[in-house]
């Protein structure tokens, strides 16, 4: 980003303007483009796709009226929410009530600064990339607590407290899993972590050793819990808390919370892709040699698809699993995931002393194991579908 601006300045594109002004305008422009051209459609389409996928998995139809297959549903929802009256309850704390959605939104949007969509397609490759993501997402907790408190509602407060307790608990296994990869890569920078991996799956940190393989699942589970996703969505459990900390919110402020939630899903997938799945690495084909544009597109598509796969998995989990109880949630984190993540961390450190030949053999073996697990999983799913007693409806769209 900065390199690109420097190039433009060298080319005399902004003659007579101070360098700092150009940088400031560039930053604002980048933020605007990321927000309006990428994050907003992404969160919107995810919200539509989630309802659609979820409905298909439960033999329902889902939103299919607005546009072809209902793909414009998110625009209709957005316009509807914009036009709604912005209701602030009389008993609510007005200042904090209005401020809370922005803090949640800021916490999630700041993460997009360091997400590497391609070799050069990144807003800023900070030295502390992954630490920065962990740091700015902790702003979300404060916003949620603020929303819960300011609503002056029992359910909101309980939801906010639950959410905050959950997020700060699951930050530990997530952080330790991230630390594993930081040890292997020897850097905190997102691009540095990706460059430590290769395009081939056996060069990914996911298959580096058995401990990182386990660490990936620990990270993904903990990240789901941090994003308040099912099966860990007790802060918004409809059967207990109405809608948790968003109970009193309506219109656009309500939408901000859900915007952040759906966008956050993509951030989870992007971070998992960066850390474990080789990021934007593409095979060094001959056609990429001469056209950097094609290479950039291939890298972006690779990264986007890998990250979106995990968004889809999160939808899948939401459609199939029931939610856990509060005490189960806490015991899962503190009694199982925290000790497991520390074991994985120590295992990874020990594994770094294994000679390079041994590491290569382990990677190949782990990759074989991964492939075997995937094959068994799909065989199993296929078996279930064939053996299902009720007539299944396979027509993909209605």
């Amino acid at each position: 980003m900065q390199a690109y601006l420097d190039q433009l300045i060298q080319g005399g594109a902004f003659a007579g303007m101070p360098r700092e002004v150009v940088y400031a305008i560039g930053m604002l422009l980048a933020a605007f483009i990321v927000l309006s051209a990428f994050v907003a459609p992404l969160a919107g389409v995810t919200s539509w796709l989630e309802r659609r996928v979820w409905a298909r998995m439960q033999s329902r139809v889902g939103p299919n009226r607005v546009g072809p297959q209902g793909i414009l549903q998110w625009l209709a929802d957005g316009i509807k929410n914009l036009l709604k009256e912005d209701i602030i309850p009389t008993a609510a704390d007005k200042k904090l009530f209005s401020l809370a959605p922005y803090i949640v939104f800021m916490g999630f949007l700041c993460a997009f600064v360091v997400i590497p969509f391609g070799g050069h397609l990144i807003v800023a490759d900070l030295n502390i990339g992954i630490l920065y993501i962990l740091a700015v997402t902790s702003l979300v907790v404060v916003g949620i607590l603020m929303a819960g408190w300011a609503s002056n509602n029992k359910w909101s407060l309980l939801g906010g407290m639950r959410s905050a307790a959950q997020i700060i608990s699951y930050e530990i296994p997530a952080g330790v899993s991230v630390l594993m990869i930081v040890f292997l890569a020897g850097t905190l920078s997102m691009q540095g972590i990706i460059k430590g991996q290769g395009w081939a799956p056996w060069d990914w940190y996911l298959f580096h050793n058995p401990f990182t393989f386990a660490g990936f699942f620990l990270y993904f589970t903990a990240a789901l819990a941090e994003g308040n996703r099912t099966p860990f969505d007790i802060p918004e459990a409809e059967s207990e808390l109405v809608a948790g900390y968003v109970t009193e919110y309506s219109g656009m402020r309500f939408l901000f919370f859900f915007f952040a939630e759906w966008g956050n899903l993509y951030v989870i997938g992007a971070v998992a892709t960066t850390l474990f799945l080789g990021g934007w690495q593409v095979p060094p084909l001959a056609i990429f040699e001469n056209s950097p544009m094609l290479l950039a597109v291939a890298q972006f598509v690779t990264f986007f698809l890998k990250a979106y796969l995990w968004v889809f998995v999160a939808m899948w989990i939401r459609a199939t699993l029931p939610r856990v109880r509060v005490d189960q949630l806490m015991s899962l984190c503190w009694k199982y995931m925290v000790p497991l993540s520390f074991i994985c961390l120590l295992g990874t450190v020990a594994f770094m002393f294994v000679p390079a030949d041994g590491q290569r053999i382990t990677s190949a073996a782990m990759f074989g194991l991964g492939v075997a697990i995937t094959i068994i999983f799909f065989l199993r799913v296929g078996f279930q579908i064939r053996q299902a007693k009720p007539e299944l409806y396979f027509k993909p769209h209605i």
Partner: protein, 166 residues
């Protein structure tokens, strides 16, 4: 005025302004939430000093950990709305003396330090250097701090543990 100077003053204003709200607000919830501005502002000042790792950790530990704990403590306090003013027991004169001494100390530090204005701040990766220093020159303080934290953690577990009577 350069933009970076303007941004510096903005961050300083946010830091000091929210610190003032923390101190003077009669509503303890406002005080607690204003700490967000103070902590984030201090992280911004660290970035101006080129200390990116410290800034990240400042946000992670102070906003993600300590502020949330403070909020929990405040929200779980009994009859939170009745809290009119904070601690009055100490009295004003001792407080004035302490503030005066601290202010004198700060002014002395500012005057004694030889300030240098760096032309162009180079944002070097600081993380590895911090790690090296912790494991070489500052190993003993580092281990001592870990020991203190461990003791505090065990203390918290002992305090919160339910006593089981046979």
């Amino acid at each position: 005025m350069e933009i970076s100077t303007a941004v510096f003053y903005l961050i300083a204003l946010i830091t000091v302004g929210s610190a003032a709200v923390v101190t003077f607000s009669r509503n303890i919830i406002y005080s607690a939430f204003s700490l967000l501005g103070t902590f984030a502002g201090v992280a911004g000042l660290y970035i101006f000093l080129g200390a990116d790792f410290v800034a990240g950790v400042q946000l992670l530990i102070y906003v993600g950990g300590i502020l949330v704990l403070i909020l929990f403590a405040v929200m779980l306090t009994h009859r939170i709305t009745d809290v009119e003013i904070t601690n009055r027991a100490a009295g004003r004169i001792p407080a004035l003396v302490i503030v005066g001494v601290f202010l004198a100390l700060l002014i002395q530090t500012v005057r004694e330090t030889p300030w240098v204005k760096v032309k162009e701040v180079a944002y070097q990766p600081t993380t590895a250097k911090i790690g090296d220093l912790f494991l070489e020159n500052y190993l003993l303080p580092f281990e001592l701090a870990s020991l203190v934290l461990l003791a505090a953690m065990i203390g918290a577990v002992v305090l919160s543990r339910k006593e089981i009577k046979e």
